[in-house]
Amino acid sequence: MELRNRVKELRARYNLSQGELGKLADASRQTISLIERGDYSPSVLLALKISKVLKVSVEEIFYLEGENEDEDDNKKV
């Protein structure tokens, strides 16, 4: 199972650029871009920092592929 994320979507909510989010989370613009593209899975520390900046829990930003769909299916049942 692959790690997916909603960083781009949540970043847009706060109208933050990749560089600005990077600065707030103590990371580079390149790292944020890599995370958004799903090329790089961030460390626990960086995931926590991003979640703090975006004011949501880590689980709401990062999830395993198929996990959200499963939850949606369970809600329907």
Partner: protein, 238 residues
């Protein structure tokens, strides 16, 4: 079914082997005619290399100067939180090309010294040396702009362990990029050494290739693998 799976699994290997066999067969069949061909530059090889390296160095240096002028006229205007991709690319290109130019200069120096010791003027060594000095000076300038654009990971080229200190300043994602690029380079270099050895074998049928060429490629190949193995073993210890 099993045979089909084996063929699928080893498809690339089988294709490479078949192509090699065909090329080897053709070369073997025409070996008599090939041995009579002379594709060498003879005495002019050194002159040809000198002119080729001069032209290459000149083109790179002109491109570098134009790039650095562009960076110089733009770097003060940018927002450091959102550095334009074009400028970022230009700075990294300038650093890369300066390094390549310095390597070309050193190779060129080696070519000139090799020929000039026996015959030819030794003063010609000045030309590649001047290009090396220009490359070093342009690299210092490029680094100055890089340090301005990325103040939290300044790099001093002349400091001891500059590369390691720069690496330590990178964040997790950038370190991951470095790891991925390094491993890709390691893997691709294995292919480069194989191709290099094969080309040196094939060329030796046409021109007089020094025996040191395949030996040097083999030695560098072994050294690279040894370094990788010894470095990785450091991390296996419990």
């Amino acid at each position: 079914m099993k045979m089909r799976m084996i063929i699928k699994k080893y498809r690339n290997f089988i294709i490479v082997m078949m192509i090699s066999m065909i090329i080897g067969g053709i070369l073997g069949g025409f070996s008599d005619k090939i041995s009579k061909m002379d594709l060498s530059f003879g005495e002019d090889m050194s002159k040809f290399l000198f002119k080729a390296l001069f032209a290459l160095s000149l083109i790179i240096t002109i491109y570098l100067i134009v790039t650095i002028i562009y960076i110089k006229s733009n770097y003060m205007k940018v927002d450091l939180d959102n550095i334009p991709k074009v400028l970022n690319r230009k700075v990294s290109n300038a650093i890369l090309l300066c390094t390549i130019q310095a390597i070309i200069g050193l190779t060129w120096d080696a070519v000139v010294i090799n020929k000039s010791f026996d015959e030819g003027p030794l003063y010609l060594i000045l030309v590649p040396t001047i290009f090396i000095i220009i490359a070093a000076s342009l690299l210092t300038t490029s680094m100055k702009y890089f340090n301005y654009l990325y103040p939290n990971r300044k790099m001093n080229l002349f400091e001891n362990g500059a590369e390691k200190k720069y690496f330590d300043k990178l964040d997790d994602g950038e370190k991951w990029v470095t790891y991925t690029c390094s491993y890709t380079t390691f893997n691709k270099m294995q292919m480069v050494y194989t191709v290099g050895l094969v080309i040196s074998m094939l060329l030796s049928m046409f021109i007089n290739i020094s025996i040191e060429v395949p030996i040097l490629i083999g030695v560098i190949w072994i050294i690279q693998n040894l370094i990788f193995s010894f470095e990785s073993r450091k991390y296996e210890e419990v």
